[in-house]
Amino acid sequence: MIAGLVHSIASQPFGPSPSPATVPGANIFTSAFILSIAIWAPVLMAAVIGVMPNPRGRYDTLIKQIAFFTNFLVLFLLFVAYNQFQNFLPSMQYEENRSWLPAIGATYHLGVDGPAILMLMLSALIGIIAVLASLGIRTRVRAYFALLLLTQACVTGAIAAHDLFVLVLFWSAATVPLALLILGWGGPRREAAAWRLVGYWGAGTLALVLAVVGLYVASGGTSFDMDVVLKNPIGPRAEVVVAVALLIAGATRLPLFPLHGWARDVYADAPIGVSVVIAGSASRLGGYLLLRVLVGGEPDGAKLVAPLVAAVAAITVVYGAVAALRSPDVRHAAANLALIPGGVTALGLAALTPLSIAGSVLSLFAGGMASALIVSAFATLSDRAQTRNLAVLSGVAARMPKVAWLTVLAALGLLGVPLMASFTSNEMTFFGAFKTQPVGAFAVAAGLAVAAIAVAVIIQRVLFGPPNPDAPAVSDSSLSESWYLGLLAGALLWVGIVPGGPKIPGTDTPLFDPGLVNQMVANIPEISAPYSGTSATP
């Protein structure tokens, strides 16, 4: 694959972007390989780190710097790509399409639409934050950061893939470095956590493979390209099977009840940087898969399973809230709370209205940030307090004010209070969902009320309750911890206050570009049918 990629890169003349922008601030950087660079630069640097001699940890700092600047470069590239992105273009942008395995019709086809560019921004931002969260790693630094970069590459690849074969490869490959990271640097139950991750994500991958093979066979077995496979009509039974398989695949990642079994152990026992990657971007791939392939590609199948998705979304939110309330371990509580944004995303996808889908797209971003923040804030808190036991943790706010305030911001971001990005996404999702899934929307809203109680109880007990004299010594966050938590909180606040998102001055691209939604609505008029009135008077 790499050889084919190198060959295709070598044979491609450098020129302007396939989607040259006309807005002010555009064309300051153009490349036909911007997506490939975003994917393969981390792989290349992982290889460099992997072969770099590092006797007795002499170059640990250099390795961390390489990882940081690689992610920074990717973020910069994607920021430029984001600002050159053409809104309302009914096709994929920054496309790269090379023949790869002609015998089975697999192509190296990359491309992004509105949701994808947003996901890429999320992934790149999470990459930098994960490196900052991992600065405390002292053992086997080389291997750790090489695996972290590989994870980053896999997530980026899965987002950018426009060929189902490539998607499956990147999707499944992401599991391996993550499992190794947990096994190598995780907490006391790291083995259980790693195997759970492999088991659930493996099952999800199997479901995805089944769905992809089903689609491939149904479309004539000539191509894995999404443009071919997803536009080919298939029978209603196959629609249902493919939709259910995709739902299983998405639900194992996002995660949704009852396929959330990995989340508690993984979020509780993975190193903080890895937890950030998983909660922030790797798990959001589940929602993205449902959006891109199920809702965008198989809308009839999506319509059939919509009630199921809405029910699962509601159960996930309520379950996450109640389980967090009953949890005796602060990191388990955070893991359960981190399920909630996934439920909101799923509700938007279940509703199948343009607004709810646009809300889901923003929810992928905001939910990823909020999940990563809540998981990492509680992890930092438990590290700094030297205990995870909620019976011991009490009244630590006075001794760790920075962590306390960041934890409060994490809780507010999770609940979706005004001025946080999650508020806008939740509002769009609810408003969009009320027409087609009113019960599901109300149940999710009620679940958020329970989540508010859970958050209030935990924060009251842990942060502002009476201090526990028998608890171990507590210290406030270090500079790097404050930075990565602050970046996550800052991103949530920034997008919440200015939902237009990060833009070069003068450009006019909203953060949650509805490119995919527009394409879908253009292709499937009945998506907007619920809004069309039938009678003029009651």
Partner: protein
């Protein structure tokens, strides 16, 4: 107006450390907001139309086809200041300033002053934004922000377990009712694709496919949302539950501000409600009437003075809401604003009541009115303030009733009864704390009971004076005309006299039993209190038994089951893998053949059905 409290919050959070500095910052924010409000009010004095300003907050194109209303999702910051909102804002800001000035002296020992004062600024920001908003999504954003700040203020004493427990109710109940409001807005949006009230109202009956049912559902949902925040009975628990445990300043601000914000937002939403049907409006009026009477009666059996006053105030708010809704229903807005005037008039008195009662409770070190007494001699200032509160609450609704209710109608009888009962309740709280002996108890010496610091005493008075002034204004048609730019007929003096007499009769009626036998009267109300307490307990038990416990059990079961199930699957796959490897190594062809056949059968059975 909007930015001043936000700036105060940012300054308080970012660069203020001390108690005094934080209080000064919060006070500065409130004073600047009041100054801006008065400036706008001055500008409006000779205008009938309000000032408007709009800013784009969020515009997202979400579709290229379908109805045009749904192709874009827009949330605009649309701020509109008219006479009514300016008066509402001024009332709220006056209450904030009064309470802050009181807290400056009387709440010196409150923990976390910077946090508390910052939250007060956020709350003011949310209130100002909610009052000025004409876009429903924007209004809900400010509303929710103010709601979050209210919870954090009421649960400010985190270290106290009782405060934390009551704070949870202060979070859960209004959060739930806020969700009702959100759902109501979402129902409307899902039908009309419009959130700006001024554009939505004309579209309610002209959009294709509109149904009365849908508007009625939205109206009821939004009414519940507003009623929850106004703490109308029986949605009052979040304010009555926190009254004894929250900082008095937090309680006072929430008591004063939320009814004003709630009733004003209700007034803005009423054109939508009216578009539903007569039946829905009638039920909303009935609900408010029942709430007014229920709150008054509930107040009569409350044994904690702050709770009693909260409930008496809730009765006034319910009367105001009932008159406002009824005004829209039958008389094309002519007297709806009288209901608002009543709620505005009662707001400062409610704040003053919370402050004065907390002075007395703290000094007498008991929350039970049976153990209180003699405040008139020992704590004259607070007792007089409490008397003023009772009078102000009693008569605050009289003007509204005179304008909006036919005294001979059933509606008039119900609301008259509510006024009578709430006047009794307010006076009862005053008499129970101020008259009779203050008895010696274990570890309590009555002679050590003394008044709160002198510098804090004047503020409850000023609030009462403001309340009485607003009450007096509510009797004047010109005041109502100023509020809604309408013309209001003069009411005969006898009508005013009737309703004032009802209130005064209530005040006097409280004096009779307590004056004759205070202990017996309070014992009787304590006995009567058992019934609602038992009902409340039974409701909680039912909720716990049939909702909370099963849900928790289900979740706990899933918590156990999911890991057990995936571990079992893991074990099975591990064993089957080992068995397969063993079969491969030993060359056990039979096993491989059986597995192959099973797999082939599976594929053969599934594939034709799937791929057809």
């Amino acid at each position: 107006m909007v930015l001043a409290p936000l700036a105060a919050f940012v300054i308080a959070v970012s660069s203020v450390r001390g108690r005094r500095a934080s209080m000064n910052t919060a006070m500065l924010g409130a004073v600047v907001t009041l100054a801006a409000t008065l400036l706008v009010g001055w500008g409006l004095a000779r205008k009938t139309t309000g000032f408007s300003a709009s800013y784009v907050y969020l515009t997202a194109n979400v579709g290229l086809n379908g109805p045009t209303a749904f192709q874009n999702f827009e949330v605009d910051i649309v701020l509109h200041a008219d006479h009514l909102t300016v008066v509402a804002l001024a009332v709220i800001e006056l209450c904030f300033i009064g309470v802050l000035a009181w807290a400056r002296i009387a709440a010196r020992n409150e923990p976390g002053p910077v946090r508390f004062q910052s939250l007060i600024s956020v709350f003011l920001f949310g209130c100002v934004g909610a009052l000025l908003s004409t876009d429903l999504a924007e209004m809900f954003s400010f509303w929710a922000l103010a709601g979050g700040a209210t919870y954090l203020m009421l649960a400010h004493r985190w270290g106290d377990e009782a405060a934390a427990r009551s704070g949870r109710i202060a979070l859960a109940l209004p959060f739930l009712t806020d969700l009702f409001l959100l759902c109501g807005i979402a129902v409307l949006y899902s039908r009309y694709g419009q959130q700006n009230i001024s554009l939505l109202v004309p579209a309610l009956h002209t959009t294709a496919g509109w149904t009365v049912r849908q508007i009625a559902v939205a109206a009821v949902l939004m009414f519940v949302g507003v009623a929850g925040r106004m703490a109308l009975w029986p949605l009052h628990e979040w304010l009555t539950g926190t009254a004894p445990t929250a900082p008095p300043a937090a309680s006072a601000i929430a008591l004063a501000a939320w009814p004003v914000v709630g009733v004003t937002v209700l007034y803005h939403l009423l054109p939508i409600f009216v578009a539903s049907d007569v039946q829905t409006m009638r039920w909303l009026v009935i609900a408010c009437g029942a709430s007014a009477v229920g709150a008054g009666l509930y107040s009569l059996v409350a044994m904690e003075p702050r709770r009693a006053l909260v409930l008496a105030g809730a009765a006034v708010a319910a009367i105001g809401a009932a008159i406002t809704i009824r005004g829209f229903q039958f008389h094309a807005f002519t007297f709806a604003v009288a209901g608002l005037a009543a709620v505005y008039a009662s707001a400062p008195a409610r704040a003053a009541g919370a402050l004065a009662a907390s002075n007395i409770v703290n000094a007498m070190r008991t929350e039970d009115m049976r153990e209180m007494g003699d405040a008139w001699r020992r704590m004259r200032s607070s007792a007089v303030a409490l008397l003023g509160v009772a009078v102000a609450l009693g008569v605050s609704a009289a003007g509204a009733l005179a304008f909006g209710v036919d005294s001979r109608s059933r509606f008039g009888v119900v609301l008259g009864e509510a006024v009578f009962v709430l006047a009794v309740a307010g006076m009862r709280a005053f008499l129970a704390t101020s008259s009779g002996p203050l008895r010696r108890r274990r570890a309590f010496d009555p002679d050590r009971v003394r008044e709160a610091p002198r510098a804090s005493l004047s503020w409850p008075y000023w609030l009462v004076v403001a309340s009485l002034a607003l009450t007096a204004a509510s009797f004047v048609p010109a005041w109502l005309g100023f509020l809604d730019n309408g013309k209001h007929a003069t009411v005969p003096a006898s009508t005013y006299a009737l309703w004032v007499a009802v209130a005064l009769a209530g005040l006097a009626a409280a004096a009779l039993p307590i004056g004759r036998n205070k202990d017996g009267a309070l014992r009787a109300s304590s006995g009567l209190a058992l019934l609602p307490e038992r009902l409340e307990l039974a409701a909680r038990n039912l909720l716990g038994r049939y909702v909370v416990t099963p849900a928790v059990r289900l979740v706990e079961g899933a918590e156990r089951l999911v890991p057990a199930a995936d571990a079992a699957v893991g074990r099975i796959s591990h064993v089957s893998g080992r068995y397969t490897i063993a079969a491969l190594q030993t060359g056990d062809v039979a096993v491989l053949v059986v597995m192959g056949v099973l797999l082939a059968l599976l594929v053969a059975l599934l594939s034709p059905a799937v791929l057809r």
